[in-house]
């Protein structure tokens, strides 16, 4: 049984293999990049605009609003990263309606790469916002005892991101494959519809979780340092008066 797009091999030369994951990933990237280039070539600011521009504007403003609601005050700074994650995972899920296509997100290597992107991007955004020292201080935030737990949570949530997306997409294609052997015609169609829904939800969740992680890395310092500075300054003064 074909578990993922990894096992579809289109071309082989020595150790180099061109499997379905690579082909479909590049095809999706091509569709996304060329499609948006074609749409944004003739942008209009007037009332009359093309329907494709309307579509892109709706997508971009919706993503921007969602990022802002998570707690990131300047969404345009994170829009490139989070929006790309969402669009890639969502389009990879939507394209399952095309026959012969296997979602590249159903392969653990793709989802691990996406999760590693989040793993690298969270410290980068955190350091960019509050400096290297400020970001590193969040690892020992309540006490130093929490340092190993913070490190473990950083790793385990990356693993969870990768395995969650992989498991959901893989289980979708797999259930359809199993149902095709048991009850053809109707039930696989229903499960395909359900797979479209779960694919969109997974895309939403992947990008929202990435946004939540970035928000946690970016804003930790502000609420803590503002009240802490006057509170620490006050108890020093009364002490000399007492004795």
């Amino acid at each position: 049984m074909r578990l993922s797009a990894d096992q579809m091999i289109f071309w082989r030369h020595g150790v180099f293999k061109l499997n379905g994951t690579i082909v479909f990933t590049w095809a999706l990237m091509l569709v996304l990049v060329v499609g948006s280039m074609l749409v944004t070539r003739r942008l209009s600011t007037e009332l009359k605009r093309s329907r494709w521009q309307n579509l892109l504007e709706i997508i971009v403003t919706t993503i921007e609003k969602q990022i802002e609601e998570v707690g990131l005050p300047h969404p345009e700074k994170y829009l490139g990263f989070l929006g790309t994650l969402f669009l890639f995972v969502a389009v990879a899920a939507i394209c399952t309606v095309i026959p012969g296509y296997a979602p590249p997100t159903g392969s653990l290597s793709t989802t691990a790469a996406l999760a590693l992107c989040v793993f690298v991007a969270v410290p980068l955004f955190g350091i960019g916002e509050q400096g290297l020292g400020g970001y590193l201080r969040t690892y020992v935030s309540p006490t130093v005892i929490m340092l190993p737990f913070n490190l473990i949570s950083e790793l385990s949530r990356t693993l969870a991101l990768a395995v969650r997306l992989f498991g959901n997409m893989m289980s979708g294609t797999m259930i359809i494959a199993i149902l095709l052997t048991i009850t053809p015609y109707v039930f696989p169609l229903v499960m395909t519809l359900l797979g479209l829904l779960t694919g969109m939800v997974q895309a939403y969740i992947f990008s929202i979780l990435a946004a939540v992680y970035i928000a946690a890395a970016v804003r930790v310092r502000k609420p803590r340092h503002a009240p802490a500075a006057p509170a620490r300054a006050q108890p020093v003064k009364p002490q000399p008066q007492k004795k």
Binding site: Q66, V163, R164, G167, N168, S171, Q202, I205, I208, L209
Partner: protein, 96 residues
């Protein structure tokens, strides 16, 4: 029973148990969270955006435990690491 049969029986039974229990418990948890979210939505329809978003993120977190169980059972069925060990042992024993 030779060792290959034992590994096959244990693998299949464990895969079924893993998926069964791993679907049951997250389903209970998801049911509780959805019911609570619906109650909150009925009481405060204005906060529906926040509640729905938090619900989805929480459901994904709960769902991922079920997905882990599914992935583990798939590994047990299709990519069992003990197969190679047992088959190598059997070949070794047959060669003797």
């Amino acid at each position: 029973m030779d060792s290959i049969t034992i590994v096959a029986v244990v693998s299949i039974a464990t895969a079924g148990l893993t998926t069964g229990i791993g679907c049951m418990c997250p389903a209970l948890g998801e049911g509780r969270s959805v019911a609570t979210a619906l109650t909150a939505l009925a009481q405060q329809p204005d906060a529906s955006a926040t509640i729905t978003r938090t619900l989805f993120v929480g459901l994904a977190m709960i769902e991922s435990t079920a997905i882990y169980c599914f992935v583990v059972s798939m590994i047990i069925i299709f990519a069992n690491p003990f197969w190679n060990h047992v088959i190598a042992g059997a070949a070794h024993a047959a060669g003797k």
